[in-house]
């Protein structure tokens, strides 16, 4: 007897209410169950890396901030560290602490934002409105500290551009105080609420092995029990003094299932962790300069003379963010810049998570890695004459790679 297939295809995206950014997911569905999945990216490719190569490192800071709309300080932070490592610039300790504080404040707002999005995708709009309302408080503090709500413009090569005054510190403390109170309510809403539990428990399970296999990073990996955190594994900036420990659901709920619920738990408790880190940073905030070099022309000159490669990885709210920068002597511009945003590493984990999921779980599973598509899109191959867009397969990439190696060897 011939085999009949009862499956049908459901396209999700590039534009879909369940997605916050354009990405195309093509699902093969049987009844309500997902049997197969195909992902296409490339709808928000902006050529930022290419643009960066037309500018000098100080100008690239502003581009780097705009790679992501949520973790905007992380990319600038990571880029600045890569450049500093390439040019051998020593950052003053106070600046390192201020960078840490800003990055942690950003983690708080990013995780609360995620919580709101997740609630919205569950159809729980009250919780969505609540979380986004409380998120405004940390945004206000960030605005007070840096002058901006989203793209803070506080990072500079060799330090930061604004100091945290005593007033600012008091404001942060006041804010942290109120978040400690809110934290309990958020835990109540996400961890103890039965209707949230019904939608997230055992949904989108990513086992420990699968997390390692798909190279997941950040909260996605930690929720599966992989205790990885750049702040713990390769402490940078002030984290070296603070002894950050990666948060895994094991330590909180006593078991690791790697589902969406665990991912929510990890993110929520990272808010508490961030509060603690900021408090410690404020306490131990050292006196001193906030920038290695205040005069921009002099800094530019120094960077122009510098030659070398720099890599840097930091823990963004979504996971490990990685930048590679190359500077060449006599060249004002950055000669090579490679960004690997955390979502790029997390997307493959959708495949094991989607297996056997229901249609209703799709948006939540997609959101569970807190995807940032515009950070991820790297290349779109377009034939302008024919007006077609092509996808490069693994074979094509290998061929291109071999060709380039041969060219360079010649």
């Amino acid at each position: 007897m011939a085999e009949y297939s009862y499956s049908y295809k459901i396209p999700v995206g590039p534009v879909h209410p369940g997605l916050k950014e354009p990405i195309h997911l093509s699902f093969e569905i049987e009844g309500e169950e997902v049997v197969n999945l195909d992902i296409k990216t490339g709808w928000v490719h902006r050529g930022i890396e290419y643009l960066g190569l037309q500018r000098n490192p100080i100008q690239v800071i502003y581009l780097a901030e705009r790679i992501c709309g949520i973790c905007s300080v992380c990319h600038a932070f990571c880029f600045a560290r890569a450049v500093e490592s390439a040019a051998g610039i020593e950052v003053p300790l106070r600046a390192e602490y201020i960078r840490t504080i800003i990055a942690e404040l950003e983690r708080i707002h990013s995780h609360i934002l995620w919580a709101g999005v997740a609630a919205h995708l569950m159809g729980f709009d009250s919780l969505f409105y609540y979380t986004w309302r409380v998120r405004e408080e940390v945004m206000d503090v960030l605005e007070y500290l840096t002058g901006n709500r989203v793209n803070y413009g506080i990072l500079a090569i060799g330090g930061v551009r604004r100091d945290i005054t005593t007033d600012g510190a008091a404001k942060i403390r006041e804010n942290l105080e109120s978040y400690l109170g809110l934290f309990n309510r958020l835990v109540e809403a996400f961890v103890e609420d039965p209707s949230v539990r019904a939608r997230t428990r055992d949904i989108g399970v990513l086992t420990r092995e699968e997390a390692i296999e798909t190279c997941a990073v950040g909260p996605t990996a930690r929720a599966s029990g992989v205790a990885t955190d750049v702040r713990q594994d390769q402490p940078y900036c002030a984290y070296a003094d603070l002894e950050v420990k990666a948060i895994t659901p094991e330590a909180i709920t006593g078991e690791t299932r790697g589902d969406v619920f665990d991912k929510a738990v990890v993110r929520l408790f990272e808010i508490a962790q961030s509060i603690e880190i900021i408090e410690k940073c404020l306490e131990g905030l050292p006196e001193g300069k906030i920038s290695a070099e205040d005069k921009l022309p002099r800094l530019l000159n120094q960077l122009k003379k510098a030659s070398g490669e720099g890599i840097s990885s930091i823990e963004a709210p979504r996971g490990e963010d990685y930048h590679y920068v190359r500077l060449e002597e006599g060249e004002a511009n950055v000669t090579a810049w490679k960004v690997r945003a955390p979502t790029y590493a997390n997307i493959p984990s959708w495949f094991p998570m989607m297996k056997g999921a229901q249609i209703a779980d799709i948006p939540l599973i997609v959101a569970s890695i807190d995807p940032c598509i515009s950070c991820t899109d790297r290349v779109t191959v377009v034939d302008r004459k024919k007006g077609t867009t092509t996808v490069l397969t693994e074979e094509d990439l290998r061929r291109l790679c071999v060709e380039k190696t041969r060219r360079m060897l010649r």
Binding site: Y8, K9, I10, P11, H16, P17, G18, I29, E32, A119, H120, L121, M122, G123, F124, D125, S126, L127, Y129, Y130, R133, D193, S195, V196, A198, R199, Q358, I359, A360, D361, I362, P363
Partner: protein, 337 residues
């Protein structure tokens, strides 16, 4: 039936239709404002639903290429008409129902499935995978809540029949005016009262599913199915569905009031004549509004959306248990106490 009676009925039908549309949208406006305030938002103006309809009527009505036009266009009309028809059978305070007979409740049960069936048909006819999935979910939801709903109706009708036996109330046990004249709470003891409470609770849980509201809005689930079975609808067709949903919300709440809270205010105030009629009519709709705010608005903002398998489980096990338990208690109350 004389010409005068027929003309009067026709006039009443037209009047009730207009009233249902206006009042349905008005209730929707209140629902949206109250929900917004509960979520500490400001919310839209009270007149927003009217403006929505006005705008939708101005928009182009798109029929997808691979849709079946007559089903696709017919479904919204059927949904609206069947919702309005139910209202003709419901006594509103002192104002008796426009149409009545012996089997009103059974007819209403069927009329309630009609809008859902129309939406399913429209969804399947629109030729979109999202709409098809939405339609499947709507069917599953429907099959899940019908049994508890039927159990509730049977409990009430049986009680009325058992309590008033051979009298008019017993004869008209399935008629809604009988419920208005003989409130069910009057003929039960404490055990039966608990039974009726369980029945009421079951009916309240069925309400949001009947109306496809959160947590039972899986068939429309914006974030999952981009509007589900309504995804291809636009313009006039969408306006009709929107109106149909508003009227259905009104009718479902009104039905709960008519079955469980048929008490009038005028006798308490000692009023009579036209004044009493007006007071009772207004009081009836106030009660309906309260029921709607509890069963629809509050539930809608307090819970997350359930998945379709969870919906099926909820209705087939706990809610069915509730309604059958209610029936059992009412029966026990009747025979033992």
């Amino acid at each position: 039936m004389t010409i005068e009676v027929l003309a009067g009925k026709l006039l009443a039908v037209v009047g009730i239709t207009v009233f249902a549309l206006v009042c349905g949208l008005f209730f929707k406006g209140i629902d949206r404002i109250v929900a917004a305030r509960m979520q500490s938002r400001i919310g839209p103006p009270l007149w927003q639903p009217y403006w929505d309809i006005q705008k939708l009527l101005l928009k182009e009505t798109v029929v997808p290429e691979n849709a079946i036009p007559w089903i696709f266009n017919g479904a919204p009309i059927l949904a609206l008409i069947s919702a309005i028809t139910i209202l003709l059978y419901i006594p509103m305070g002192g104002v008796g129902p426009v149409l009545e007979g012996r089997g009103d409740l059974i007819l209403i049960l069927y009329l309630f499935t009609l809008p859902a069936v129309a939406m399913v048909a429209g969804g399947f006819a629109s030729g979109s995978p999202y709409a098809a999935v939405g339609s499947q979910r709507e069917m599953v939801t429907m099959m899940s809540y019908e049994f508890p709903l039927a159990a509730v109706v049977i409990t009430l009708a049986w009680k009325l029949w058992a309590a008033y036996g051979a009298g008019t109330a017993g004869f008209y046990a399935f008629s809604l005016s009988a419920f208005a004249d003989y409130p069910v709470w009057g003929s039960v003891g404490i055990v039966g009262g608990i039974g009726l409470l369980l029945t009421l609770l079951a009916l309240l849980v069925v309400t949001p599913a009947e109306l496809s509201k959160v947590p039972f809005d899986a068939p429309e689930a914006e974030e999952e199915l981009a509007g589900g079975l309504l995804v291809e609808y636009s313009g006039r067709n969408l306006a009709l569905f929107y109106l149909g949903e508003a009227v259905k919300t009104l009718v479902m709440s009104a039905l709960i009031v008519a079955l469980f809270f048929p008490y009038n205010l005028a006798p308490v105030l000692g009023m009579g004549g036209t004044g009493a009629l007006v007071v009772d009519f207004v009081f009836f709709w106030v009660k309906t509004l309260v029921v709607m705010l509890v069963a629809v608005t509050y539930v809608r903002i307090a819970l997350a959306r359930l998945k379709v398998d969870q919906i099926a489980y909820l209705y087939w096990v706990p809610v069915l248990g509730l309604s059958l338990g209610g029936l059992a208690l009412v029966v026990i109350d009747h025979f033992l106490f």
